[in-house]
């Protein structure tokens, strides 16, 4: 058995490349990222005639120029990693455009097999393709396949095998021949290239790229010795071509490539139908209809949102209960120690808090896969582009932004549907301002406490503020840090297709598992840090004798119970003496029952009061302890920073813990104010405490705005890190949102105070 052969799969977007890749490799694949960029890299394996093939799925591209990261990644792989064979997947129903990429692959000169995909659709369109002749013209065997059904995959494997073992007569290197004036210049540059030591396999290809003014080509020419003369000759050659063609040399070369493609298709393709049936066009009569298009779109969006968050709520509850159950179980079986606390309170609670998002994420990814595979995603972009364009974004960016109202984590991971890295980063950066569902409990609590009659309005205002912050930040970023790379909107609306269920599941899993693997690590570390802040220092000196207080209460309780019993006995004795009926014994009389009832309710009341008192001592103890842990100390350290906003160290601590997950702000508040962590809007204790703690309605508005805008939660941060692939952007996002939150809260507090508004 010889060494493993490497195959690169190249093709246009929407040509069914991934389906072919899946058919070849089955489940033997591995998904990762291309080094340095967040472009998915898929790798798989298969064995044919005892020969192992490693298959790399290149990003879908229309060309191999270097305008996008995807194109650069694809080209770099072919040039630098030198795959043994290239499979070029070509959409048979759209040959002219697909073969444009093929011409560029031919020029690079690796052995190639062409998989002519979507033959069924081509036939529907009435196209007859002479694959034999096409193969001869392109210098590569052409295999008709239908990726969806797997038809032709075995033949494809056989052809690859034959090309690899060099028995295929059709695999030969051909040249794309240009106009003689261009050929002359190619000749000239090639001549210079041959003079210097060149490590590249194909001088002709380099010459063409130089004529195309492709700057990245110089990266392959680092070791080339005659750089200076090459630069001069290239500039001259480009100048000559541009004079002759009265066009840019790049454009002239592209035209020539299309000329070659046209020549090939004219010879090999026959149209049998005069007016081919265009089903997609008929479907679009409704889906992108002038009047119906928007409502239908809104409806799909609503379904997507509802299914993701409402249906997802059930498994979310199961995971939540399972995690609580596990925590309780471990608390009972593990002896109390630092390690036990680290495992249970740090790692399991922390990761558990994030694991509850898994159902949302998987459902959302499934729906996105459905939208992408069916072809509707492109229509969504088409419908929303006008709105998003005003933010300097692509139409598709609308989807992750709306999903942000549910949870920013899947929403940010959903930015993968965007093609340009700039758009992905911009959408990621503004996404946390879309108020996620975890912030709602905070709004309900605070708005409910300070604006009992207008809570709804205040909460709605928070959502609007978030959207406005997102829009303005988007405009700001696209004019400053993310200037420039906005691409022209040239979007293909691919034909609608019936999605294959197995491939939907596969796409969902592919994307979802990244969340499990990578986010797990970041979140685990983050949870441990936050745990440590709440755990250390281990020994704290309590400012009051809480145990003594509890003990005292217990004594009081016994005394009180005793006195109730005594009073009862005395009353019974007294009543008994006045009792005269002989028919009914006193113990069955109405009077006796009344007395028992009075005693029982008194005892019950005493018991309840006792429990409440013990609980509040417990909460006070917890608050006392917390204020002495690192987290409390941190709260006191940052107090000067939040003081200008009217906040105290308690708000400081609540906001810090809110970094783990924003809803924790509420329970931290509960602990700090000594009313317990189980807080909701009905809990009158917290509301009274909030008011007594010095918070005014005005400060509460500032606080809500702060909660809305400040640092995304840990999981979101991990998602930002993951999707931007850069700590730089993650830090930027954190710092920017903190600054914005602080400035707005400050402005609200100061201007409000000055106007004596809501004080």
């Amino acid at each position: 058995m010889s060494r493993t052969q490497t195959i690169a799969v190249a093709g246009n977007p929407n040509c069914g490349k991934t389906t072919i890749f899946n058919s070849l490799t089955g489940t033997h694949q591995h998904v990762g990222n291309w080094p340095g960029v967040t472009v998915e890299r898929k790798e798989g394996r298969y064995v044919y005639h005892e020969q192992t093939f490693k298959v790399i799925d290149l990003p879908g591209t229309y060309s191999l120029s270097t305008y996008s990261v995807e194109e650069l990644v694809a080209r770099d792989f072919i040039i630098k990693d030198v795959p043994d064979i290239i499979i070029n997947v070509v959409d048979a129903s759209n040959l002219d455009r697909n073969l444009f990429l093929t011409t560029q692959l031919i020029e690079i000169g690796r052995p190639m097999v062409i998989a002519l995909n979507m033959m069924d659709m081509a036939q529907e369109k009435g196209l007859q393709i002479d694959t034999e002749t096409l193969g001869v013209l392109l210098g590569a065997p052409v295999v008709p396949v239908v990726g969806r059904t797997g038809l032709g995959i075995d033949l494809l494997k056989e052809k690859i095998h034959r090309v690899q073992t060099q028995v295929s007569e059709k695999a030969r290197h051909i040249n794309i021949v240009y106009h003689r004036d261009i050929e002359a210049q190619i000749e000239r540059i090639s001549h210079v290239l041959e003079q210097g030591a060149i490590t590249l396999p194909n001088a002709r290809w380099v010459a063409v790229k130089l004529l195309e003014k492709d700057d990245h080509i110089w990266e392959y020419l680092v070791d080339f010795t005659e750089k200076e003369s090459l630069k001069i000759v290239t500039a001259e050659a480009i100048d000559q071509i541009e004079k002759i063609f009265n066009d840019t040399s790049r454009s002239a070369i592209s035209h020539a490539r299309y000329g070659f493609v046209r020549g090939a298709t004219q010879e090999c393709v026959k149209t049998t139908l005069a007016e081919p049936v265009d089903y997609s066009r008929k479907i679009d009569k409704f889906l992108t209809h002038r009047l119906l298009g928007l409502p239908i779109f809104a409806f799909f969006l609503w379904v997507m949102f509802t299914v993701t968050f409402n249906v997802g709520a059930y498994p979310m509850d199961w995971i939540d209960s399972a995690v609580s159950w596990m925590i309780n179980l471990l608390h009972t079986i593990l002896p109390e120690s630092m390690v036990a606390s680290l495992i249970v309170d740090g790692m399991i609670s922390g990761v558990g808090a994030i694991a509850v998002f898994l159902p949302n994420i998987f459902i959302l990814f499934f729906i996105i896969a459905l939208l992408e595979d069916s072809g509707y995603m492109a229509r969504m972009a088409f419908i929303m582009d006008r709105v998003m364009h005003s933010l300097g974004l692509h139409g598709k960016a609308f989807i992750p932004l709306v999903m942000g109202f549910g949870c920013n984590v899947p929403a940010i991971m959903g930015t993968r549907i965007l093609e340009s890295r700039r758009d992905r980063i911009l959408t990621t950066l503004i996404n946390p301002f879309m108020s996620c569902s975890a912030r709602l409990p905070v709004y309900i609590l605070v708005a409910g406490a300070f604006f009992p009659t207008h809570a709804g309005t205040v909460i709605f205002a928070m959502y609007v503020t978030g959207v406005v912050a997102a829009i303005l930040s988007g405009k700001l970023f696209s004019k400053t840090v993310l200037r420039g790379m906005s691409k022209p909107f040239v979007l293909e609306l691919p034909p609608y297709q019936k999605p294959k269920f197995s491939s939907l599941l596969w796409h969902t899993w592919e994307r979802g598992q990244v969340f499990i693997r990578k986010m797990g690590t970041v979140i685990l570390v983050g949870s441990i840090i936050v745990w440590a802040f709440g755990y250390f220092p281990r020994e704290v000196t309590l400012s009051q004798d809480y145990d003594g207080q509890t003990q005292k209460l217990k004594t009081q309780l016994t005394v009180r119970q005793h006195s109730i019993d005594e009073a009862f006995d005395a009353s019974v004795e007294m009543q008994k003496q006045q009792y005269y009926s002989v028919l009914v014994p006193f113990e069955s009389s109405k009077h006796f029952k009344e007395l028992v009832g009075q005693r029982d309710s008194l005892l019950h009341e005493t018991q309840i009061n006792f429990q409440d008192a013990v609980a509040s001592i417990g909460y006070a103890r917890q608050a006392d302890v917390m204020s002495q842990k690192w987290i409390g100390k941190l709260g006191k350290i940052i107090e000067p920073i939040v003081a200008p906003l009217g906040f105290t160290w308690r708000e400081g601590v609540a906001l810090i813990t809110g970094f783990v997950a924003k809803e924790i702000v509420v329970s931290t508040y509960g602990v700090l104010f000594g009313v317990g962590a189980d807080v909701d809007a009905e809990n009158t204790g917290i509301i009274a405490s909030l008011q007594q703690g010095g918070m005014t309605p005005l400060i509460s508005i500032g606080f809500l705005v702060f909660v809305l805008l400040y640092t995304p939660c840990l999981a979101t941060m991990a998602a930002i890190r993951r999707e931007t692939g850069s700590w730089g952007w993650t830090t930027f996002s954190v710092v920017y949102s903190l600054l914005l939150a602080w400035l707005l809260a400050f402005g609200i507090y100061r201007i409000g105070s000055w106007l004596e508004w809501l004080t």
Binding site: R97, S251, G293, R386, R422, M485, K487, V490
Partner: protein, 99 residues
């Protein structure tokens, strides 16, 4: 961290249209036209070419998006969407609907 985006904004040559006549953005749904000239940045011109929209090609205007932008065209039998501001950079001549 920001440099990666800014180096792309270096002066891109822009092509001024010589044709003074109709623009692709002037087409009404159902009309067909032949592309005469493509203006705009080199990147835009190349991008269109990669997507199969070439000088001399006949395109059909299918419709406008519900919000009146972008527009949908049929080129070489497939559907392509362009913003109207970009379509303004493309000079055309109308051709009969049955061509």
């Amino acid at each position: 961290m920001f440099g990666r985006f800014q180096n792309k904004t270096r002066s891109i040559p822009r092509h001024q249209l010589e044709n003074a006549g109709l623009r692709l953005s002037d087409l009404q749904p159902g009309q067909k036209a032949r592309i005469l000239e493509i203006g705009g940045s080199e990147m835009f011109r190349i991008r269109l070419m990669e997507m199969g929209l070439l000088i001399g090609d006949v395109v059909e205007m299918e419709k406008l998006a519900p919000l009146r932008d972008p527009m949908e065209l049929i080129v070489k039998g497939y559907h392509l969407s362009l913003r109207r501001m970009d379509a303004e950079k493309i000079a055309i001549e109308t051709v009969a609907a049955d061509e």
